[in-house]
């Protein structure tokens, strides 16, 4: 039994503690926003926030998040369903193409802007290492700067 918090709700899961958090979220909890892309912490489609830190849920044993707070892309909108500023920037810039990798990008950027509210392009290059096969990179960069500007005005 592992107990932790997912998007604000306490959960307890009866499972093997070595099962990756990604598969616990997807299979045991039906939290389907985090995606399986590579399974080896290369692509970032599985990224979630664990106590605010952007993490690869595909290589994180669920046992290691006992007592932690996990936020997935589903947990970013507010209680009324309004998109987070980063999600709104994603919509404004019409970033996604197929969209499969985007939850991981949005999570990674959420963590980046928390620690670095006005990131430079170098900050972005060093931090946002996710893969998007559709090639939405120019729009991702624009959306990050847009979100940073929106956060600064808030």
């Amino acid at each position: 039994m592992v107990e932790f918090v997912v998007n604000g709700a306490s959960v307890s899961v009866e499972t093997d503690s070595s099962k990756p958090l990604l598969w616990v979220l997807r299979e045991d909890l039906e939290v389907l926003g985090p995606k399986y892309g590579c399974g080896i912490a290369q692509c970032g489609a599985c990224r979630v926030l664990i106590d605010g830190v952007s993490s690869f849920s595909c290589i994180t044993p669920v046992g290691s998040v006992a007592g932690a707070s996990v936020v997935t892309v589903e947990g970013l909108a507010d209680a009324e369903g309004r998109l987070s500023i980063i999600q709104q920037a994603w919509l404004d810039e019409q970033v996604p193409q197929c969209g499969y990798c985007q939850p991981g990008f949005i999570i990674a950027v959420t963590a980046l802007l928390e620690s670095t509210p006005r990131p430079t392009d170098t900050d972005i290059d060093e931090t946002i290492t996710n893969i998007c096969r559709c090639g939405t990179y120019p729009r991702i960069r624009r959306a990050i700067h847009r979100a940073a500007a929106m956060l600064a005005e808030r």
Binding site: A77, L83, Q87, Q94, C98, I106, T129, G135
Partner: protein, 772 residues
Amino acid sequence: MPLLLSRRAFLLTGAALGGTALVAAVGGVGYLASVDVDGLDGYVDGDRAVLNAFLTIHEDGRVVVNVPRTEMGQGIHTGLAMVVAEELDIPFDDRISVEFPVEPLPAYASWFNVLQQRPEEASGPVVWVGRRVLGLLGFIATGASASTMALWYPMRVAGAAARQMLLAAGAARLGVPVNQLTTADGFVRHEASGQSLSYGELAREASVLPPPNDPPLKPASDWRLIGRSQPRVDLPAKIRGEPVFGMDVVQPGLLYASIRHAPVFGAQVARVVNEAEVRTVAGVRDVAIIDGRQVAVVAESWWRAEQAAQRLDIEWAQTDGDGINSAEMSVRLQAALGSDAPYENINDGDVEASIANSSMSVIEKTYEVPFLTHACMEPMNATVIVREDGTAEAWVPSQSPLGVRTGVQRGTEWGSVEPTSITCNITMNGGAFGRRGDLDVAAQAAFLATRHRGRPVKLIWSREEDVGRGLYRSHAAARLRAVLGPDGLPSAYDALVAAQSVIESVAGRNLPFNPGPNGDRLTVEGVDKLHYAIPNRRIRSQHVASHVPIGLWRSNGFSFNTFFTESFIDECALAAGRDPLDYRRALLRNSPRHLTVLNRVAEMAGWGSAMAPGRGRGIAIEECYRSVVAQVAEVTVGEDGVVTVDRVFCAIDVGMVINPDAVIAQMEGGIAFGVTAALMSSITLESGAVVESNFHDFPMLRLANAPEIEVTIVDSGLPPGGAGEPGIVPIAGAIANAIQAATGRRIRSLPLTTTETIAERRTRTVLPTSAV
């Protein structure tokens, strides 16, 4: 009813449709011919009114547009919903939703892909028969950048016809002549009395009216949506992380499966050495050999299934492919370039005589590209249930419902089950790029489902299976020859392409017939360069068989041939001492459409302006998918050989544009896809098996290496062309030409650079030290 017609029903329906179609054929290219004959009569179902095959209106005003094409990121659901909304006169807002229709109506058939005639122009007996046959087969596929070309007109007609039916219903309700009514923003209005009725109120009455023949279409001057960027209808759900992909399908009682394919393609399973042991792993329900060729583990969790699959000890039978490596494949391709009897695709003028009689020396260059994989971000998957009552249902991220249906038929046949019906649900695709037209995954899942009747089985390939056991872009080579005339332009151009035929491989896996490798136009597309004024031209091809399965891959032959030809044209320009842009201008003197695009991209890039040492610019152009696309790449090559693609300029004449922002996105995405192929990735063979297995050794572009991209849409006023693939096509040639400009070095094989890891998930690309 989302039920598959039985074969007998096919015949009966065929006869009935044939009779109606005869009437329509006489009627011409109007509504009946393009929509209704192959479509659906209107009907009422609860609070919703189905007006035709493409359109449903709910009582509360919500509009559902049926788009029978796969949304895989290209924005087709939005573009085609826009044309319906345009003609229907409704705002493009969140009251519009798009569904991929479950029932494979003949109106949805992808006959344009086969017959290559636009619906608005199509006529004649071949079209008439072809449409009916492909419609009754349920041939629905998304590919060849064809969806807008195929459906923009029929779906406009569908929207316009529904509007006419709503007007007629309004006239009947208000008791006024229809010509006193107008429509706007989803209402039928009677100006004189000030009365108005919403479409939602009228839809049910409208749906049972006879559809009009030849409804008037809005003139372009009245368009308020077409040609103006609209937000994608599918993005809010994707940004919220809602479950829209095949991977996200959840059904009661779901079982999960993981799979192992033979490392050497085509090998049979000789024995699963430790089957009994794997069966005892916690959560494992089944270990199954599929078609003698793959081994799957079925469990209550995919993680469990994959863990157990990792423990499988499988003996594979020996095959002829066991000893093949990439070097051997190269030798075979080079040998094929010396073939004395290649297939002759084009022979205009007299190439041999022109070369023999020239006093100039022949320019002859050889180029080569490796196998590549699609690496869709969503790994391959399919969910299938075979119920106790004999019905089957599939949920698959697929480019082809026909492929899914055929796959389920094949897989259930392996399990000796004949489903009484097969329902195919096409989910959002997390990338596709040609990979998801094949029936393989659906067949495997269906077979597993026959072993677990009444429970849905979701088969997921691990990333390692996807990269290492896929269907690949051909390893290909070409020998290009030319002699230059007194003006420095080629007077003769002779091309020979050696590659494994895509069509032969795809047909072998998916179709009941095989047209064979000769004359496969996907092998030579991009080599003919018909828009270049060259008096003598010969195009030949040589199929080189291998044990490697070849798949459709975004832009197919163009992905390598345009690299070959646009590199070669630069080499000819260099030999003639001419600027590559001026050289192409001279070659395009008879092709004003191409010349416009070329000049536009040159202007965007500031062609001819000075660049710093170590920097260079390269240009390339192609006509493909009825569009013309040109790109200029700007690269920097450091003293350490590190290559950076700094900026890419792209001009695209895609004909008439429905949703400009979607076209721009496709160019951006195509360029990224093409930069990965040009600089970074390859699939290599060792002892018959693929070496690469995941994103650490099949590197792809990331944010840090992504170039800045500027796109301009050139408006030629022509009918719509394709946008999904052209963005990739010129980029490798443009980059190779830019590297030549920067360094004086010509690289004739892809990838142009080797990828080095500089930190976790960060790479740089470096020129080989011994480039020719």
